[in-house]
């Protein structure tokens, strides 16, 4: 019966095996249920992350146009090379290999990667912004051979500026910094934003909206197909008030002169900026594709400080260009009339101290218009003394001096016209009447920015409206141009036309009557009104010691509007170390000539070959320094 017993045992053990098998398969089924159904969402996401990449498509920034619709700043295509760490097996190997392929320092690549280390790994880290074709070709070849599956080459729009033209006005763009990201909800790391100038002020309008491209990649990182593409929205197009021809005339003339400096030219009726320059300038294009460190440190350490926007951030003594403010104060306060005469013997005594006129021989009996024309110091000493510093401050402020202009550019600095209150609060000291005498001719503590001088001239030109200088004229968000109204005036005074005429007459004579100091700015057929001035850089004693040093020479000013009746243009030329105001007037001549040629429909004048500058420094006699400068012809 062993057979049957054995038979039974075999049957029993087979049953055990059956049960074991069923249990094993049930366990498998439950495991698959758990993975595929219970945890499906998690694994689905991991699978998507495996094979899908979202590549940002950078929106082109809005194009900038001039007032005639000419393109000022546009975009060009460039290639950026980035690492997507999500697909990186060994980041060190990638960095080493990539830096070899690109021919850049391994350390700098590592530094960039390190800076973005905490960001999500799917976000590309841009290593080279504006790659050369050779770099693109080298990387693409490696990508195809799957050596660098984690490298992405993308075509991106990059800002294109007209070289250094209007650099400080347009500003530049750069990668957003951490502080900017934390301050704005709509910015993310890696975005390109305006870092100065119009680019910064109107960044929100210019930026546009980035698009995205969702692609399928295989395990070696190669793109297989596009799943979805959201096209980027281009930033709004902006029309500026700037006139390209006038802007170019300013910079051409400055270039011929060899001076650094600043210029602001306005439409006096509404404050629209026709030209805006600060020199030396930098090339914003070098920022557009990520500035390299050596260029940056060169800009930062340059003694001429090219990044400094002299037009709105430089404060300088206005010198004789300040005299019209004193004149207007005297007239409006009823202290003088246009016929009011002062006898100038070449000097005058105030509060026991002798103040010299630049013309030691004296001007004799002189009225307001001629005092302006010949820049008689004694006349303005006298008027200023009668007014007192607070009244000068009041009227200077109403004309735009010593206050911010409110121009739509970042980081404008404020000048200063002193007052008794200011001195009390700032210096904790009483104002001495003797200090007023220096203030009367734009010296002492008076300091101004070039832009505020342009506003000052525009206000005199338009009859008392302190317009706000502005650059934005119209906006096009894709549905056509919409004009942007000029910003409200900062203040408005009704100047008696008769009184104003006396000042205007003097300014006209400066340029158009022999004996005036601004004859070099004369334009045949157009009544240019203007005033020269100079700003002493160091004291007379210091001058003697450092007489040969170029950067201790005086600054030259020329402020102007034209034509005398119904002015269409007003502005300032500030020639840093330009020695004489007349040199600034020579630059202004080319600007005005261009402006009127355009207005009259004449061919535009070519850039002057030679400005015939007067570079003689009045070193021989410190006392006669301003004499030469103010009467230069």
């Amino acid at each position: 019966m062993a057979f049957h017993e054995e038979r039974r045992r075999v049957g029993l053990r087979l049953s055990v095996l059956q049960y074991v098998t069923v249990v094993l398969f049930s366990t498998l089924a439950i495991s698959f249920w758990y993975l595929q159904v219970v945890q499906h969402d998690r694994f689905q996401e991991m699978a998507d992350n495996n094979h899908q990449r979202t590549l940002p498509l950078r929106a082109p920034r809005g194009v900038l146009f001039d007032r005639d619709g000419r393109v000022l700043v546009e975009n060009r295509h460039s290639y950026s090379i980035s690492i997507v760490r999500e697909h990186t097996k060994d980041i060190n190997r990638t960095i080493t290999l990539l830096s070899q392929v690109l021919g850049v320092q391994e350390g700098s690549v590592r530094e960039i990667v390190e800076r973005h280390r905490r960001e999500p790994s799917y976000r590309p880290i841009t290593i080279v912004q504006d790659a050369t074709l050779a770099q693109v070709a080298a990387v693409t070849a490696r990508r195809l051979s799957t050596e660098l599956p984690d490298i992405v080459v993308q075509q991106v729009p990059t800002r294109q500026y007209p070289d250094t033209l209007g650099a400080h006005m347009f500003g530049y763009v750069g990668e957003v910094n951490d502080l900017q990201v934390s301050n704005a909800d709509d910015l993310k790391s890696g975005d390109i934003v305006g870092q100065s100038g119009v680019e910064k002020i109107y960044n929100a309008m210019l930026m546009g909206e980035d698009g995205a491209k969702k692609v399928v990649v295989n395990s070696t990182g190669r793109e297989i197909r596009t799943l979805e593409e959201i096209a980027p929205t281009e930033g709004k197009r902006l029309q500026l008030t700037v006139d390209y021809d006038v802007q170019k005339a300013v910079e051409d003339a400055f270039a011929v002169s060899g001076f650094n400096g600043a210029a602001v030219v306005l439409d006096p009726s509404d404050g629209g900026v026709l030209a805006f320059a600060s020199l030396p300038a930098y090339d914003p294009n070098s920022f557009a594709a990520g500035i390299d460190r050596s260029t940056w440190s060169q800009l930062m350490t340059d003694e001429d400080r090219p990044l400094n926007d002299r037009a709105i951030q430089g404060t300088y003594s206005p010198g004789s260009t300040f005299k019209m403010a004193v004149a207007l104060a005297g007239l409006e306060e009823g202290i003088i009339t246009p016929d009011f005469k002062v006898f100038c013997p070449g000097h005058a005594n105030f509060y026991g101290r002798d103040f010299k006129c630049w013309k030691h021989a004296g001007h004799g009996a002189i009225d307001l218009a001629h005092a302006i024309q010949q820049s008689c110091d004694v006349y303005f000493y006298t008027v200023g003394n009668m007014l007192g510093v607070d009244k000068i401050n009041k009227w200077a402020t109403l004309l735009g001096i010593g206050v911010k202009s409110g121009i739509d550019l970042p980081n404008e600095k404020q000048g200063l016209v002193p007052s008794t209150q200011w001195k009390r609060e700032r210096m904790k000291e009483k104002w001495y009447a003797g200090e007023t005498i220096s203030v009367s001719i734009g010296q002492g503590q008076v300091s101004v920015t070039p832009v505020s001088m342009a506003v000052y001239m525009a206000t005199l030109a338009n009859g008392g409206t302190r317009v706000t200088p502005h650059l934005l004229k119209a906006v096009d968000d894709g549905s056509g141009w919409k004009p942007v109204p000029a910003p409200a005036a900062q203040s408005k005074i009704e100047i008696d036309p008769e009184k104003l005429d006396a000042i205007r007459e003097g300014l006209w004579m400066v340029v158009n009557v022999p004996g005036g100091t601004g004859g070099t700015a004369r334009i045949a057929g157009h009544d240019v009104a203007g005033k020269t001035g100079s700003a002493q850089v160091i004291s007379n004693a210091g001058r003697m010691a450092a007489r040969t040093t170029k950067n201790l020479r005086d600054h030259g000013w020329f402020v102007f509007f034209a034509p005398k009746e119904n002015p269409k243009i007003a502005g300032v030329i500030f020639a840093e170390h330009g020695i004489h105001g007349g040199n600034a007037a020579r630059i202004a001549h080319h600007v005005l000539d261009t402006f009127f040629a355009k207005q009259d429909g004449r061919p535009l004048p070519p850039p002057p070959a030679d400005l015939k500058l007067d570079l003689s420094d009045a070193m021989a006699q410190p006392g006669e320094r301003r004499a030469l400068e103010d009467q230069d012809r």
Partner: protein, 364 residues
Amino acid sequence: MFERRLYHHIDWALLIAMFALCALGVAMIFSTTSDPTRGNSHLYITQLYAIGLGSIAMVFTLTLDYRTFTDKSHLIYIGLLAILLYVLFLGTVQMGARRWIPIGGFNLQPSEFAKVGVALVLAKYFGENRGMPNWTDLAIAGGLTCLPLALIAREPDLGTAVTLIPVFLAVAYLAGMQMRILGYMALSLVLLAPVAWKFALKDYQKSRISTFIDPTQDAKGAGYQQIQARITVGSGGLTGKGYMQGTQGQLRFLPVAHNDFIFSVLAEEQGFAGVIVALGLYLFVILRSLEAARLAKDRLGSYLVLGVLASFTFQVVYNITMSAGLAPVKGLTLPLMSYGGSSMIATLAGFGLVLNVRMRRFTN
């Protein structure tokens, strides 16, 4: 020799289930390799040839009485050892292992046939001995198993070598091996494990095991396949991503998708529903074969069926577990579905014996 009435006793249900699995396999191979840009788009054709050859082999193992094979099993066994020795010294080297003999366009992998050979010889050995196997019987049977196992392990092909162990255990178990002996074996295995870890395992084998325990410690290296397998299966969901729509398999995130990980591809593209169908078919094949073992007219037949079934079941369960990322990655294919000619032919030949035993349950 082949009586007409035997034809009526062929287990058609088992045959249908097996060929359904083969068809599923071909479909999945086609799905992962048909991309004409990749150069191996012909693989499914090769697989179809293998199924054809396997069917011929099955007809052969089905036609002769299984006792004819067991009677000649010692010769088959010796021939097998000779071929394994030949492979070890003169085989074709691929991917660092010497496993193949080139025959015509085919690379024959003799180790696959070793499973059937060992099943035959063990069935014969235990079938001839009456009563419960004693220590001597077990030692001799163990030796018969270990000889080809060692040769295969030397190739090296540890995965295939290990599949011989279930053959021995299953047949010995059915032959009446006492349970405590099984207990001793399990105990000694546990005790030997640290020793094996220290001396016998190669570094890559150790890393496979350690990354199984924690795949994330080497997510881009050895743990990669395991994580990808789990993602592949998990992302399939209830109904799958659709035929040829699986991103993991199609985009090559999963390595050797047509081979070791074919079940993962099925799970991805056909979802849990497809998994249940495939699992059901395999379970049916196994239970139906156990039924054949039960119905066998003699012990020899039962042992033979179980010997063939043991390596099959072991491989199925292990591969499916691995394809879900739930077991260390081992080069073990999924019988009937994975791409591979030798495996297909050997498996079908083995099942020819299973059908044989059932078919001849009434003959003398």
